[in-house]
Symmetry: C2
Subunit: 283 residues, 2 copies
Amino acid sequence: MEIVSQQRLFDGRQIRCRHRSECCACEMTFSIYLPPQAARAPVPVVYWLSGLTCSDENFSTKSGAQRSAAMHGIALVIPDTSPRGDQVAGDPDGGWDLGLGAGFYVNATQAPWKPHYRMYDYVAEELPALVESQFPLDAERRAISGHSMGGHGALVVGARQPERYRSISAFAPICAPMDCPWGQKALTAYLGSDREAWRNYDASRLLEQGDPGIPILVDQGTEDEFLQSQLMPERLRRAAVNSGASLELRYHAGYDHSYYFIGSFIEEHLEFHSKHWIQEDRS
Amino acid sequence: MEIVSQQRLFDGRQIRCRHRSECCACEMTFSIYLPPQAARAPVPVVYWLSGLTCSDENFSTKSGAQRSAAMHGIALVIPDTSPRGDQVAGDPDGGWDLGLGAGFYVNATQAPWKPHYRMYDYVAEELPALVESQFPLDAERRAISGHSMGGHGALVVGARQPERYRSISAFAPICAPMDCPWGQKALTAYLGSDREAWRNYDASRLLEQGDPGIPILVDQGTEDEFLQSQLMPERLRRAAVNSGASLELRYHAGYDHSYYFIGSFIEEHLEFHSKHWIQEDRS
C-alpha cells in the first residue's frame, strides 16, 4: 500500500492510498480520514460508498463529513466506485451508468466484467482487512453508509453481513435495483439475464427475506430528480415493515440528489452511527 | 439577472445567477447562499473572493461554509474570478496565473485586458449593488473574505473602502503581490510596468499607508507550498504594526493551501465577522 497524499483537515489527516487489489485484479485508490482521536487509540469507522461517476474524491472534498467525524472521533473510509485502468472494461455505449465509476458493488459473473468487477468483495472484505491492519481502526465499531448507487451498496452489504456492522445509513439509495432502469442495466450486464442471481443485490428483496437486526437510517430529498424512476424508497419501507427490520426513512422537503443534500445531513448520519455504538457498548 | 439553478442546503438556498455585467462588458456568473433566516428579514453578507483557477463553484461545493452561514444567519456571495467568454483574452502562454480564472481583482489599464478585466469595480461595486437590490441582504453588515488571490482581493478591497465593510478576513492571501512572481506577472500584464500604479493593489503597501480601522483576520497554514515564494504574510504583519492596523495573523501547523484548510477554519471566520457585527450593533 502506497500513500499518495496526506493533508491536514480538522486537526486530523485526510490520506489517499493506492494498493494492488487481489479481488479486483488491478490497482485501486481509496481515501481515509483519520480524526485527531486516532492518534491516541483505535477509532470507530464508517465505510462510505459513493454514487455513479464518483471516485474516492467526491465525498472527500464535497461532503464536509470530516468536521463531524473529527468531533465524534470517527474514521471515514472512502473506496472508489469501480476498478480502473487500461485493462478494465467500460460501458461499450459510453454511458456513465455502467462500467467505470459504476461498479454497483456486485461481483460480476459475466464477460467482459468478470475479472475485475468484484466490488462487493472489495468493499465488504478486502478493503476493510487492509485498512484495519494499516490504520488505528476499531473493527468492533464498524458502520456502512453511502449515496445513491452507494446507498444501494451500503444497504446490500449491511443486510447480507450484519454481523460485521453496528448500523447502516444511506442517502437517496437505489432501493430496488431489480425494478429500475439503472439497476436492470447494471445487473443484466454484470450478472446475466437470470433474475434469481440479482436478488442478492437488491436491498428491498434482502430486507423482505429477513430483519438484519441492525438499525437502518435512510434520508431522501423530495425534489430528487431520480426519486420516482430510480430510487423507490417506499419499496424498501414495505420490505422493512414485512420483515420487521428497523428502518427509519425520512423525507426532506426541497432537497435534491446532490452533495448539498448529503452535506446538510451527514452530521446526523454520523451521530446516528455513534449513538448505536454507544448504546451497544453500554448494554 | 437570470437564476441558473437553485438548490436546498442547510435549510437555506444555494442559488447560481447569470447577469450582464456593464463593468466587465460580458456575462458574469456568481453564486449566493441565502440562509434560512433570509426568509424573514435581511441578513448580513460575507463576500467571498476565490483563488486562482476557481469559479464561483469551488467555494460553493468544497468549503462547507454554508453550514455555519445557516447557523449564524449569514448570506455568502461568491463571484467568479475573472470575466469569461469567447471575446475575453486569456494568458497567451496558456498559464493558469493570468487571464481567465486569474483576474487578480484589479481594473486593467493595458491591452488586451482593458475592456473586460475590471474585477475590482465588479466585486467592490457592481455586484454588491446588484445582489443587495435583488436579495434580502443587509448592506450595513457587509464583510469580505477570500483565499490566496482572493485573500489578496479581500484585503485590498477592504483596505481601500473600509467604510463599506465591518471586517476583513483571508486564508493564505497573497500579501505583497508587488514582491512575488504571481503578482508581478499579473500586475505587469494588467497595469503595465509602472510600479506606482501597482501600489493600489498591494495589501501590504495599503496597510502601511494607514490603518483602515476595521479588524482583519488572516489564517495561514505552515505546510502551504506557496507560503515563502508567493504569500509573504510577515510582510503584511510588518505593515500592520507600522500603521497600527488591527491584524490577527494566525499560523496553523500542518495545513496546506487547499480547500481542506479553508474548510477547517471557515466557521471561525464567519464567527469572527458575526462577532464584529454584534459588537458594533451594541455600541
